[in-house]
Symmetry: C2
Subunit: 330 residues, 2 copies
């Protein structure tokens, strides 16, 4: 019988030392002026401006420990924040992480969490530079990400103009399909991993920004919902076509498996962290070429266009059914 | 009978709109390029480097709602992070805040929290630029603060040199005395407010940095513990004198009240967010003059000196008794 080491066995400072050691295996980044261990870290912000965003993830609300490992949660929590940075057209530079945990959490889980944060940060070009560890009856992970704009104007949600094309870089509906498979008792399905660890095309977002995206948003609530935020901020309407939404075969298969509408996943599923952007329509084709040039292939589609008016409508049939998600209206 | 409005009555987006409106009453700061409402905020970092620190505060661990209002918790959570920024010699610029809360939390409490964050941030010259609101069985507040070094080198914990004077700007033992009074059932005692809302001398920390502090630390765990961190990081020893620790009359009175040793509060009490610094000894007197010049008076004392060796020792008697605090060893 193996004894499980838990957080309270190590104590606060022992746990911090262990986490910092695992993070350090990523090596030093030139963006880090001063790493963990002082009152604050210091990170380069060569642009003279810094993009900053924060998220909180709660055990049983944003993740389930029987469905996701610590590594998965680290990857996903980091990805959600790094994607927000990239959606501004900013290059991710640094993360700080807060961990509020019961004392009986296995240290293995924290090891995985640290590794997940380190690996996703490294993938996005960023480094974990600091954090806080405290005791709590509920396991909560808080994340703040920083990014550098490299001299570029921030790409906000408010710049979409009538006539622009609406494009999406990255996967849509995969995380929702994975979650549905987990709910259906299929934890070993390949798509379940899409819920556990999103595949975020950070480089694609940065290319779209440089190419001239007029607006951009990280798709975390679902394509229709997030385009709704973008349309509202820009004071425009958005027309989508069901026929233009990408519907990969694996989503269709999974939908047959669990009896769902795969187009609802694509239109309304959150947590894939694709990037939805608007572009002058003559640039949409160039975007295809730019993104093909990225090394690893990124799903890319033009899904609609910006019009005068308000709201998001489908022009070729009813909107795929949405559940919606409000943190205080379950 | 008055009906109490709770968080779930407003829903996630209603609550966010309400918080953002309260924060906006502080007016726009020139440091804010892009405020709340997009994927990320954008903050000026004119220095080309940004200081960043994060903390997590948990209901029942870091605060009690029967002892502290939402306003108190906001002030204290902001202060803890802004003090970490100032302890690097950096000017606080921005905060992002995460709120994980049960749906039945009164909205009044959240209003107070937002006001507390706004007021403490404003006092320190910073602005709340973004955040996240999620549901959670446990109330948790996460905070990240950013700061600008104004061209100055960061003042770390590792620069103390033998011969330096050890000085403290700010109050010591007040928060601990306040906590003891609260435990003794004296919520109306004036000192109880020192636990609820620390009085952080941000400007004093920045003066000490410019004056030439060789090292500095925010006193959050207690003077002896935090000087221990500083001594370890600097590879030096620190000699303190009981006779040099400031012992204000109100602490002596409170200690008589509750049967405690007031010097233990001064030496080991946390959460006052005073600044302990080391300075070449010829600068210690100049520091007194600099700090007297600050507009509002800041308690200031030379409490010891840096020596070769390791650890923190008292040269004129036994060390005041310490309780210590480890998040996972209660």
């Amino acid at each position: 019988m193996r004894e499980i080491i838990v957080v309270s066995d190590l104590g606060e400072f022992g746990l911090i030392a262990r986490i910092v050691a695992r993070l350090a295996t990523a090596g030093a980044s030139p963006a880090v002026v001063l790493g963990p261990g002082d009152d604050a870290a210091v990170v380069r912000a060569a642009d003279g401006r810094v993009a900053v965003t924060t998220d909180v993830l709660v055990d049983g609300v944003h993740f389930r420990r029987d469905w996701s490992t610590g590594y998965d949660v680290g990857r996903r929590a980091a990805a959600a924040n790094l994607a927000d940075i990239a959606a501004m057209g900013a290059h991710p530079t640094a993360l700080v992480v807060g961990l509020a945990t019961p004392g009986d959490l296995p240290v293995d889980w924290v090891d995985g969490l640290a590794d997940g944060f380190r690996d996703e940060a490294t993938h996005a070009g960023a480094t974990v530079v600091g954090g806080d560890v405290v005791s709590s009856p509920t396991l909560v992970v808080s994340v703040t990400a920083l990014g550098d704009l490299h001299g570029h104007r921030p790409v906000t949600r408010s710049g979409a103009r009538p006539g622009d094309a609406v494009v999406v870089a990255g996967r849509l509906g995969f995380a929702a399909a994975g979650l549905a498979l987990l709910h259906a008792g299929r934890p070993d399905a390949e798509l379940a991993d899409a819920h556990r660890r999103p595949a975020v095309p950070y480089a694609a977002a940065l290319r779209l920004a440089v190419l001239g995206a007029t607006s951009m948003i990280d798709v975390s609530d679902g394509l229709v919902a997030d385009l709704g935020h973008l349309a509202q901020a820009s004071g425009v309407g958005i027309e989508l076509a069901r026929d233009d939404l990408p519907l990969p075969a694996e989503l269709v298969d999974a939908a047959l498996d669990v009896g769902a509408d795969p187009l609802s996943w694509v239109a309304n599923g959150g947590d894939d962290h694709a990037f939805a952007a608007t572009l002058p329509s003559d640039l949409a084709l160039r975007a295809v070429a730019e993104l093909a040039d990225l090394g690893e292939p990124v799903p890319f589609a033009q899904v609609g266009r910006v019009v005068t008016g308000s709201g998001v409508v489908f022009v070729d049939g009813p909107a795929p059914a949405a559940d919606g998600w409000d943190h205080f209206r379950p």
